[in-house]
């Protein structure tokens, strides 16, 4: 019985790990506006970098390390997230943002190629820990407006803001 329970727990943990590593992602470009076509290669890079930004954000919040945002975020988005990390560190709070689902719709590729706007109907878990003691894990469903901008070798998140559905 005890062995069965251990196996069950392991299965759940493995399942949650797999889910954590690979959120479910769907993408569409039907609503894309702008005179510049969004090539497949650009689209793939933007999606890859955006999804990586969630991982980067999660690690930065877990470790209270605003500098870990530099890889994926820029400008306003980086400043706001960095401020939030400072706030949680001062309060002795840790947060984890574990994304589970992304439904990404590309909205706009600016004509000069300096920005891509997308909307992401995201589902994720927010886990709150107070001085490393788990307080609660809350499943969230929110629509994010995201603006990406090309940086040195990747797309970085310039705006990431949940929209009132």
């Amino acid at each position: 019985m005890l062995r069965h329970f251990a196996l069950l727990c392991a299965s759940i943990l493995m399942a949650s790990d797999i889910t954590a590593a690979q959120p479910e992602v769907t993408v569409d470009t039907f609503q894309l506006k702008g005179s510049r076509p969004l090539e497949d290669q650009t689209k793939a890079a933007a999606i890859r970098d955006y999804l990586e930004s969630w991982q980067g954000m999660n690690v930065a919040f877990q470790q209270d390390q605003p500098n870990l945002l530099d890889e994926d975020f820029i400008d306003t988005a980086k400043d706001k997230l960095a401020d939030a990390i400072d706030e949680q560190a001062k309060a002795g709070v840790h947060t984890r943002f574990q994304d589970r689902v992304h439904h990404i719709r590309f909205l706009f590729y600016s004509p000069e190629g300096l920005s891509i706007e997308l909307v992401d109907d995201a589902e994720y878990n927010v886990e709150i820990l107070d001085h490393d003691k788990p307080v609660s894990t809350v499943p969230v469903s929110a629509r994010y407006i995201v603006v990406l901008t090309p940086a040195e070798v990747r797309w970085k998140v310039r705006v990431m803001q949940a929209d009132f559905k």
Binding site: K33, D83, Q88, P111, E112, E117, A142, Q161, K165
Partner: protein, 289 residues
């Protein structure tokens, strides 16, 4: 094994749903507030508890007295987004969420304009894209009217009115027919953002040269070189003169100086002279003594 796992997962789900249902009774949250505005959270019960408000852009923690409203003064939450609220008291957890919306008044514009320099008379050659933000740098997602104005050196203005869609608006405009600096302005409400676009003459148009004997040589000189809109082509633009004669060919590249290019070349009887600049060919002259 499989039915056991399914049972456990269903039980977990039901427990989460019950928790979610219970939280509504304890926490009385606004559905949404405007960024930067004051608000309060009413909670039931008694005793002391800890309130957490978490959005990726802001994290707040407060010790609150249950049974009374917790007041958050203006400026407590300025970043638009979706916020999770958790109220924790001695192992009892209530949670909920609310949204913070941008202030519907433009305060800053992010204006992307390209290029900074282009030839005159280019159709849809100038592009501008604008993102509209409120005073807290929240993207204003509701439709906002944006005007784009391109003023030419002569004072003529091209104007387009565009509504933002999810915070973004864009336009394409023709470069004007007159060379010089143009001001490209985006405006939303009282907020403006300007870029300077330098319009330079296009390729030479109707390139013409003449030949005059000058001692043992010939003096080749172009007429003032202008683009198709009549703007003088800038000094330094290269004009190529080519002489083809029986038994040989010589080519000379000459920069335009004060609107014209000129050069001295040998006077071979029966030679043919051509003139070109870039991809533009000029006239051809056959020389005989």
């Amino acid at each position: 094994m499989k039915p056991t796992l399914a049972f456990l997962l269903v039980s977990l789900l039901l427990a989460m749903m019950q928790e979610a249902h219970a939280q509504d009774k304890t926490l009385n949250l606004p559905k949404s507030i405007e960024a930067g505005s004051a608000f309060s959270i009413q909670n039931g019960g008694s005793g002391e508890a800890t309130l957490y408000i978490v959005g990726p852009s802001q994290v707040l923690k407060r010790t609150v007295q249950l049974g009374s409203a917790t007041y958050f003064p203006a400026g407590s939450i300025c970043n638009a987004g979706h916020y999770v609220v958790v109220l924790a008291q001695a192992g009892r957890i209530s949670n909920g969420s609310f949204d913070v919306t941008p202030i519907n008044a433009p305060a800053t514009l992010s204006f992307l304009a390209k290029p900074s320099r282009l030839p005159v008379g280019l159709h849809d050659g100038i592009t501008g894209a604008v993102y509209v933000f409120d005073v807290y740098h929240n993207l204003i997602a509701t439709s906002t009217s944006v005007s784009f104005e391109l003023s030419s050196p002569s004072g003529a203005v091209q104007k387009q009115l565009v509504s933002t869609r999810t915070g973004a608006a864009w336009t394409e405009m023709d470069s004007t027919s007159q060379q010089g600096s143009s001001k490209f302005v985006a405006r939303a409400g009282d907020v403006t953002s300007a870029r300077i676009i330098r319009q330079v003459p296009g390729d030479p148009c109707d390139l013409k040269m003449s030949i005059q004997p000058s001692g043992q040589k010939l003096d080749l000189q172009t007429a003032p070189v202008r683009d198709c809109s009549g703007n003088p082509v800038p000094d330094g633009t290269i004009v190529t003169f080519t002489e083809t004669y029986p038994g040989g060919q010589s080519t000379v590249d000459v920069p335009i100086k004060r609107d014209v290019a000129d050069v001295k070349m040998p006077a071979h009887d029966g030679a043919t002279f051509t003139v070109a600049s870039g991809v533009v060919l000029g006239n051809q002259i056959r020389w005989s003594k």
